[in-house]
Symmetry: C2
Subunit: 218 residues, 2 copies
């Protein structure tokens, strides 16, 4: 967990400080801010990924601040604090751009669950561009490599020439190229008899492909 800052915007000092404290006690980096106006300044410097915002404040209210924040920082997540738990409040908050909401009064656990859920979603976005993901998908992008994985999943293990014939590819060096690729990505390996077989990682990948296929063709 890096220094992921959470900004808490609330004019009620007690509530604000109590939220910040709860968050800090749970290893989040949080800071407070007592009005929408100062908040706008503060995000310029700290650029938080998550904002907790009271919708009722003197001056500019939370509802008014939200679109401004979203406009300049579309990837910021906003958790709105609404005074009473009514369906209307919740719907209104979500409609105007909140990603989640908390109804006063809320328990410490409600707060933490909501914060964690939203940070989790943020994390997902960055995961998609992670290097591991990149290699894996590049590997899977090639139909020959997928065929190889599928064949090995079926036959458990296979020697080079058998595999080549099975795939009905005339040029054996082409197969070799893709085998090397798969080997480098740790999806397959060879035993002493030079037979290729899936690694545990490779098997996971095959599982993934099956899942993918079911999803896509559903």
């Amino acid at each position: 967990m890096t220094t992921e800052t959470i900004l808490v915007i609330d004019d009620d000092q007690d509530l604000r400080e109590s939220i910040v404290e709860i968050l800090e006690n749970n290893d989040f980096a949080a800071s407070g801010c007592d009005s929408a106006e100062t908040a706008l300044e503060k995000v310029k410097v700290t650029t938080p990924r998550l904002v907790i915002l009271d919708n009722m404040m003197p001056g500019m209210g939370g509802m008014a601040l939200m679109p401004l924040l979203k406009k300049d920082y579309p990837n910021i997540k906003i958790i709105m604090i609404t005074a009473f738990s009514t369906v209307e409040n919740a719907v209104a908050a979500m409609k105007s751009g909140a990603d989640d909401y908390l109804s006063k009064p809320f328990r410490r656990e409600d707060l933490l669950v909501t914060v964690r859920r939203n940070l989790e979603e943020l994390k997902f976005a960055s995961q998609l561009s992670e290097p591991g993901m990149d290699d894996a998908l590049a590997c899977l992008a090639n139909p020959i490599r997928r065929q190889i994985l599928a064949t090995l999943a079926r036959e458990k293990q296979m020697r080079f020439m058998n595999l080549t014939r099975e795939l009905e590819i005339s040029d054996h060096t082409k197969v070799n190229f893709h085998l090397k690729n798969l080997k480098m990505n740790n999806l397959i390996s060879q035993n002493r008899e030079k037979a290729y077989h899936l690694t545990p990682e490779g098997e996971k990948m095959v599982d993934c492909l099956q899942l993918l296929f079911k999803k896509i063709s559903s």
Copy 2:
């Protein structure tokens, strides 16, 4: 279900015909064969994907036939019928290349379950090289496209320039290129206000990516 032929090789006429009948009653295309020698001839013509083979037969036994079959048709699945259910029998059968086994006596249900399972595995192999799969994975292979999908999953909808800024890519035409690609693959589309958003297909794809990621990083 195409005309997927299953070849039943057993010298015991009663058992053989009963197996074929059970299979045919369950919409499989099955045919019988009373010895290993005739089986070798028959596979040349029918090239079944699945073979059910008795290991005890006069003349060439099932154990001897198996490697011959596997050599010429490595993608054939073999279900071995062993006389008694002992661990040794089962292990021996699997070791010499059987993909599955049935111990006599078995119930109609055992047979069907085993056959279905093995056909299912065969089906998977061909799925992996299907065209739909190809497009989808090629699309996902590019990190920028994944980022776009992830961003749209988070923000629900976004206009062109906002998206470009969000991704921190200086050249907007590059983003446009990938957007066009995603559009062509029906993963995103634009509403009247020109805002991009995920299509139902695109959402499925994002789900897939999340699954993939969880699998990979587990």
